[in-house]
Amino acid sequence: MIDLAVKVVLALFVFFGVLNLAALHTWLERKQSAVIQDRVGANRASILGWRLMGLFHPLADSIKMFTKEDIVPAGADRILHTLAPVFSVFFALVTFAAIPFGDRFLLGGRVIELQVAKINVALLYIFAMLSLEVYGVILAGFASRNNYALLGGLRATAQMISYEIALGIAVVGVIMIYGTMDLQELVRGQGQNLAGWIPLWGIVVQPVAFVVFLTAALAETKRIPFDLPEGESEIIGYFVEYSGMKFGMFFLADFLETILVACLATTLFFGGWQVPYLTSSGFQFPWGATLPVSQPAYVLLGVVSFSIKVVIFCVLFMQLRWTLPRFRYDQLMRLGWLGLFPIAVVNVLVTASALAFLKR
């Protein structure tokens, strides 16, 4: 019973944390693009005269989205049309269950892993959910009965499937090095130090995989430079026939995906909740100094470290989004199949040979 309660608390924590982060993401997007583009950015929404640098805009957005009329075009498949955004958001949200956001800690003699679902094949689960998420986009494209939406859906299908392969293969290298598909164990594996100084994070041992992973993952988020399914000035996007909160849900799913990718990049390549030189007994600096840290503080530092890394990735993605133009369909396919895919495969082969050589 208590176990269940703990799980519910954890699930709610992740659920609301992620949703809030997604809302903050819209604020971040507005403000960061404004900074890049010499603008002030959204600052109009206010409550009792308080503007808080436009922090109320996500709130205003959601009120607007919920109160707008919901339009289903004539001739569209009503059920699928409604199901599509739900699919998108649902699968984006459940994926977060497998992401560990802190080390285990003891509470009343109970070991609590800071992870909603401890799955020993968490990576497979995440890729499964990511693949299912594509269905939201595809269904939106097909159920809208609109040629633009159809084109968007087609583009999304091709893009997601092509890049998921590169994404999966890029991760294989990491799995081989740390020898586990359990993300919590994978993060723990990144706790050692190389030559005493360099944290043995994924990026250190698998830099090529990181580049491939980041590129492919960006493509998964469907944002510029990979926003072909949306391609606003070309085909408007797969959600062209959506309005109100249904549209909002696609939007939300986009932001959730960005955060998810940031979480994955952090977990796989940047040591997850690891803080450099921090072990469960305290800081052990390579120059010999030590600094004891209590257990709750250790866990908290881990959660903070994880959050900071995720936010840094979000900011990085945003920077790319407001700097680069968009690919074309065939160029995107070429990059995926002739660029990322072979590199990822070669990376796996090199990693495998290196591991075999070292083990011998």
């Binding site: 084109l151 583009r155 680069l324 968009r326 690919f327 074309r328």
Partner: protein, 459 residues
């Protein structure tokens, strides 16, 4: 009127080469579509992402400019020309005024020529900034667009200080310009260009060697030099195909023959070359303006206050209305230099002395009978500017290409016919050729590089 597109009708199976039956998709792009700014409609037939056929429909912004021009006097057409190419209205002003001046056989003072060149080139930069910025935005590089619009804003501030308006400038007159350049314009111009150069360098860094941008732009929307000429394409579009035709060089008007500038020429005739040509033309335009400001014959910006008696214009008008001429004989009106009725010496440097075409300064109108008569002869019904019978074609280099005005006079005070040769009309006729065979995603950069301006295309 929906025209039938040749090839197979909608829904009919296309020639199935494999086992799977495929069908083309008919996609209606526009008139309400984010990339179809200026409102046009393209009915495209897609094979997957590839455009196999396209039908371009224009005319959504037809306002009857040419017919409207026949109903007003010669100067009255000028506000209408503002609305032709609304991104660079000053060039239209210049083109039309010079066409009517050619019809009348009059010449304008040298300083006026230089002013016209300066405002034209500033407009050309604003036009190219808009075009390049919008093309980049449609490729997803939104930031570049806002940078360029920021630079355009600095230039529009210049335009505003000269003409008093940002878009509906109505600055030129038959036989001159409305008012001289404001005080401190050269300085203002230098600052604005400094900012513009900075923005251009920034945008250049963001785009020119950006692999994604180059891949998107090069090789798409190609047209050969021969094809471009046979379609009647002019301007940056033609120059990108390798033909160095520029009205400013080949039949110089105003003071372009005395100014030094290069005409950038492309080689491949694709979107990327057009982008490069436009980027370089902006630099050249700034060079022209700087030279013009340096070489311009000085005009009396303001009468030396010691030699005359300054009087507010409104007071002068009041005095004149009650016949108190001696009191204002030696006075000059103090007005905003951008308003009509500025001091008399100021006018002679920017407008022709021809009494047939140009309104006298207000102090003359109210101060002596000759001025009053000249004024009435120009403004009263049935009078006004009356060019001799004849017809004339005069072309200037618009931002998009050769902008020609064909004016016919029957000797009356309104034009018998005004015909515009809009540069983007010719390019639009080549649009299907440009996009067929390319992908749906190439439609936007190609259409963007045309820089279609609805106002001038549909008139």
């Amino acid at each position: 009127m929906p025209r039938a597109i040749p090839d197979n009708p909608v829904g009919a199976p296309a020639a199935a080469s494999g086992a799977l039956e495929t069908r083309d998709m008919l996609l209606n792009v526009g008139p309400a579509h984010p990339a179809m700014h200026g409102i046009i409609r393209i009915v495209a037939r897609l094979d997957g992402e590839q455009i196999v056929n396209a039908d371009v429909e224009i005319g959504y912004l037809h306002r009857g400019f040419e017919k409207m021009s026949e109903t007003v006097d010669y100067n009255g057409v000028i506000p209408y020309t503002d609305r032709l190419n609304y991104v660079s209205p000053l060039i239209n002003n210049v083109g039309y005024s010079m066409a009517v001046e050619k019809l009348l056989g009059i010449s304008v003072p040298e300083r006026c020529h230089y002013i016209r060149v300066i405002v034209s080139e500033i407009s050309r930069i604003t036009d190219h900034l808009t075009c390049v910025g919008a093309s980049a935005m449609e490729l997803g590089a939104f930031t570049v667009f806002l940078y360029m619009i920021k630079a355009r804003e600095y230039l529009w501030e210049l335009v505003e200080s000269v003409t008093g308006a940002r878009l509906t400038v109505s600055y030129c007159r038959v036989g001159g310009v409305k008012a001289d350049l404001p005080e401190g314009f050269a300085n203002q111009c230098r600052q604005a260009f400094e900012e513009t150069r900075r923005v251009l360098a920034e945008s250049d860094a963001l785009l020119t060697r950006n692999r994604i941008f180059v891949d998107r732009m090069s090789g798409t929307g190609k047209i050969s030099a021969d094809d471009a000429i046979s379609y009647g394409i002019t301007g940056p579009f033609l120059r990108a195909s390798g033909v160095p035709y520029d009205v400013r060089k080949d039949c110089p008007y105003a003071s372009y023959d005395r100014l030094e500038f290069d005409v950038p020429v492309g080689t491949r005739g694709d979107n990327f070359d057009r982008y490069l040509v436009r980027m370089e033309e902006m630099q050249q335009s700034m060079r022209i303006v700087e030279q013009a400001l340096r070489d311009m014959p000085p005009g009396p910006f303001q009468v030396n206050p010691q030699t005359g008696c300054p009087l507010p214009a409104s007071e002068m008008v009041d005095q004149a209305k009650v016949g108190n001429i001696p009191a204002i004989r030696d006075a000059y009106a103090v007005t905003d230099p951008t308003l009509d009725g500025s001091a008399k010496p100021l006018r002679v440097s920017i407008a022709t002395a021809e009494k047939r075409v140009f309104l006298p300064s207000k102090e003359d109108t109210y101060g002596n009978i000759e001025g009053l008569m000249q004024h009435f002869k120009l403004v009263m019904y049935g009078h006004g500017t009356r060019p001799p019978k004849g017809e004339v074609y005069f072309a200037v280099e618009g931002a998009n290409g050769e902008l020609g005005f064909y004016v016919v006079s029957d000797g009356g005070n309104t034009p018998y016919r005004v015909r515009v040769r809009p540069p983007c009309f010719a390019i639009m006729s080549a649009l299907p050729k440009l996009i067929i065979g390319d992908m749906m995603a190439d439609l936007t950069p190609t259409f963007g590089s045309i820089n279609m301006i609805g106002g001038e295309l549909d008139r």
